[in-house]
């Protein structure tokens, strides 16, 4: 597990996104126990209070739940996990649409380009290109 931090942005938000991504990609599964504040702080070399804040925010969003005396677990509600996926998809889309508009494509063109791209069998080269953009 490793993460490249950008010191210009709040660290707790970056760790939240990091954990969300782990949940969405299945590295952390629904109902899995997550590391303690101490463990994650030591692993990421981050201030423990920052980790604490990360967990509080994740609890507020009901993505993580605390079971008294046992620790913290990834929510077992699939709808929450789907919620994270939608949120991330939304961010991805915004960035994509902005980029396309900057290139001068109109809304109609964007839709047809996407439709075309989805129906085509993606070639490995294209695939890599898309991943790199992220």
């Amino acid at each position: 597990m490793s993460i490249e931090f950008d010191n210009n942005l709040p660290i707790y938000l970056q760790i939240m996104n990091y954990i969300k991504r782990q949940i969405v990609t299945g590295t952390l599964k629904s109902g899995d126990k997550i590391l303690s504040v101490r463990e994650l702080a030591a692993e990421l070399q981050i201030n423990p209070n920052t980790i604490q804040r990360t967990f509080q925010e994740l609890e507020r969003e009901e993505i993580v739940e605390t079971r008294r005396g046992l620790g913290r677990y990834v929510t077992s509600e699939e709808s929450k996990i789907m919620g994270i996926k939608k949120e991330m998809a939304g961010e991805l889309l915004d960035r994509f649409i902005n980029g396309m508009q900057e290139l001068g494509f109109a809304e109609q063109d964007i839709v047809s380009i996407v439709a075309e791209a989805v129906t085509e069998v993606p070639e490995p080269d294209q695939d890599r290109g898309v991943n790199h953009r992220e």
């Binding site: 010191n7 942005l9 070399q45």
Partner: protein, 232 residues
């Protein structure tokens, strides 16, 4: 108990030169605080004063509500920028020396930290590399059961591997009821372990702020903020 360290209008003069000029600050429990400033800005003077080694010319300071003096010394564990060990010592002797000297020295914790730091008790102190020596000094300082830990330049002149290990140890072994003040001018590598930072310049406090607030309010890293404050 609300504040672990309180300094009110502290001035320290050496002749006509002010090493600290009208410094007031407060640090709560459970915090890792960065004391940031260039060489000669007053960081070490401030730390020595909090540990009771230097007397203020004016002003008052308390640790956990107790005026700094004999009684407060048991509450403060100070790691100076120069090693406290003697050249004849082996790592084992340094540990025993500290155990003899401080009632609150936790020998079990020290042994555990030595292992974590990959230090051997039979190594001679004067053949340790700079990085290994810093690890030893940190082990000695953090193995005391204090309220306030003062680490003066714990990562100065240390290679990135040792630096990582030292940061690991600080996060791993610090006790949540106490606070740690770490002085440094190497901000980038260490800013992620701070709760708050204090910028000190020419003996005066320029800024005290939570690090996440600096990122949220200014969209800047502490390192960039530091460069801006000290640019002239």
């Amino acid at each position: 108990m609300s504040s672990l360290l309180q300094m009110n209008d502290i001035t320290k003069s050496y002749g006509s030169k002010h090493a600290l000029n009208d410094v007031s600050l407060e640090i709560g429990p459970g915090k890792i605080v960065g004391l940031l400033g260039s060489n000669g800005s007053g960081k070490s003077t401030l730390m020595k004063m909090v540990s009771g080694l230097v007397q203020p010319t004016r002003g008052t300071l308390t640790v956990a509500g107790i005026p700094v003096g004999l009684k407060s010394k048991g509450l403060v564990s100070f790691m100076p920028d120069r090693p406290l060990t003697e050249s004849w010592m082996k790592v084992r002797d340094a540990i025993v020396f500290f155990q003899d000297f401080y009632d609150d020295f936790d020998i079990a914790k020290a042994r555990e930290m030595l292992q974590f730091m990959k230090l051997n008790e039979s190594d001679r102190v004067n053949v340790l590399s700079k990085g290994m020596n810093e690890r030893l000094q940190l082990t000695l300082a953090l193995s005391r059961d204090a309220k306030l830990y003062l680490l003066d330049e714990p990562i100065g002149g240390v290679d990135p591997v040792a630096r990582g290990k030292i940061l690991d140890a600080i996060v791993e072994y610090y006790n949540e009821d106490s606070s740690i003040i770490i002085s440094t001018h190497l901000v980038r590598d260490i800013e992620r372990i701070f709760d708050e930072v204090i910028f000190i310049r020419e003996g005066e406090i320029v800024m005290q702020e939570e690090v996440e607030n600096i990122r949220i309010k200014y969209g800047k890293s502490v390192d960039d903020m530091f460069k801006e404050v000290y640019a002239e």
